[in-house]
């Protein structure tokens, strides 16, 4: 899962976008008891202002009806869980609690480099490894416009289509969907739950504001 890496958008928008992944390593700490450790981490996520989480194997995310209790039962067969947050304070809460829980499972935070490093320091942690994004290369004429690209790259498996984002934006502009409901519909194909519905709804509100400013 490099799937929370290439999230596109300006710094201001990324300030409200973090994913936290806990993953046990093959041959190191993926043995017995992993399910209990992951359940502990899930409880940390859900008590720290989580926006979304999910299960690609179960085919459902929190934003589309996956309950934490239901998800917790499946974690004995898993080796990692990921969740999405919309502010640095939630990240700080998770890292503080994860440090105290001392599960020994690796934790990876996707977000603005400067912010994540600062938060890690505030929690007494020493960042170990970074996976940097050098951006998108190749036949980039195939990419959609920036507003849409920001939304589609929130599903790292590319399951949220340009067509769906454009469709819900049109419905928001036409007053047929609220930005929040549109964000839920947009998030549905992303079963891992890393689609940030909070950031998406905010983006849709901005698009509406831009529209009404233009109309004025």
């Amino acid at each position: 899962m490099s799937h929370s890496l290439h999230r596109y958008g300006p710094v201001e928008s990324l300030r409200g976008d973090y994913c936290i992944y806990a993953r046990a390593a093959k041959g190191v700490n993926r043995g017995e008891g992993v399910g209990d450790k992951l359940r502990k981490i899930l409880a940390i996520y859900t008590s720290s202002g989580v926006v979304n989480f999910g299960s690609s194997h179960g085919g459902k995310s929190f934003s589309n009806g996956l309950e934490a209790e239901e998800y917790a039962k499946t974690l004995d067969d898993s080796y990692g869980i990921i969740a999405t947050f919309d502010d640095r304070e939630s990240v700080k809460k998770v890292l503080t609690k994860a440090g105290e829980a001392n599960t020994g499972i690796s934790i990876v935070v996707s977000g603005l480099i400067d912010e994540v490093v600062k938060v890690a320091h505030e929690c007494g942690l020493k960042p170990h490894t970074a996976t940097l994004s050098l951006g998108i290369f190749g036949h980039t004429e195939k990419l959609p416009e920036d507003d849409v690209l920001e939304m589609v790259t929130m599903c790292g498996h590319s399951l949220v289509s340009t067509g769906l984002i454009k469709d819900v934006i049109a419905k928001v502009k036409a007053g047929k969907l609220s930005p929040e409901d549109a964000a839920l519909i947009a998030s549905k194909p992303c079963t891992c739950g890393i689609f940030n519905t909070s950031r998406c709804a905010k983006k849709f509100r901005e698009i509406l504001e831009r529209e009404s400013e233009r109309a004025d």
Binding site: K26, I107, H128, G135, G138, G163
Partner: protein, 240 residues
């Protein structure tokens, strides 16, 4: 994926869901362009068809076609690899595996993402060059298993025309190879008929800086402001 023509009522509800725009209108009905479809299952899981006309035909589970869903639907497991999705471990657990030490880099080339998909023939244009450069493609990666065993970097011919939503090539090199590896590979990408999201794994310095960012800038490569950071909570900690 396929749409049953006799059932489809032509409402068009499924069309926007397809990440690679392979559902088309065909005489008042919808139809899947099966050569372009990557069998990701999004249209089916969306559960929006009022006529239950969308289904995955048996042929999609047969090789070589079966690799489409293995690389495109994160809910389908790679059979020989026992992992889901693109299946890379990269730096997620580097604090306990020590896969990448200081002065070592991992390059992740993610073909087809975002939102275009790719034929394996496009990826092969890069794997053959990587092998000619003498770089090792990491084996714990599902794409590796589709390559010919002769280390030529070629895929087995039956897979070449298969289209997947995305696939990641991952390889490792040392400090002295950084400039040559990126200098040769990045220019290749512009001629591909797909997009490639590029990631680079690197260790933090003791002062929490990332020294490679300056080196990349000298090579004309900008780093996005957001990254994936292993915060060092894994135990037992490996710091090599």
């Amino acid at each position: 994926m396929r749409i049953r023509e006799d059932k489809c009522v032509g409402c068009g509800a499924c069309i926007p869901y397809c990440p690679v725009s392979s559902i088309v209108r065909d005489g008042g009905k919808a139809a899947v362009d099966e050569d372009e479809c990557v069998d990701c299952g999004v249209c089916l899981r969306a559960d929006i068809c009022p006529a239950e006309a969308i289904f995955m035909p048996d042929e999609c589970f047969e090789y070589p076609r079966a690799i489409r869903m293995q690389f495109s639907d994160p809910g389908v497991q790679h059979p020989n690899f026992k992992s889901w999705g693109r299946g890379t471990e990269e730096a997620k657990t580097n604090d306990v595996t020590g896969k990448f030490g200081r002065g070592e880099y991992g390059l992740l080339l993610e073909f087809g993402r975002p939102g275009t998909g790719t034929r394996l023939s496009e990826i092969e244009k890069v794997t053959t060059v990587i092998r000619n450069m003498g770089l090792d493609i990491l084996k714990d990666n599902p794409l590796y298993g589709l390559l010919e065993e002769d280390l030529s970097g070629r895929f087995k011919p039956e897979y070449l025309n298969e289209k997947i939503l995305s696939g990641i090539l991952e390889f490792r090199f040392g400090e002295d190879e950084l400039e040559e590896a990126l200098g040769k590979l990045i220019p290749l990408l512009k001629d591909l008929d797909t997009v490639v999201s590029v990631g680079l794994v690197t260790r933090f310095a003791d002062d929490a800086s990332i020294p490679v960012i300056g080196k990349l800038a000298k090579m004309g490569l900008a780093v996005r402001p957001n990254a994936k950071i292993n915060v060092g909570l894994g135990r037992p900690l490996v710091d090599r």
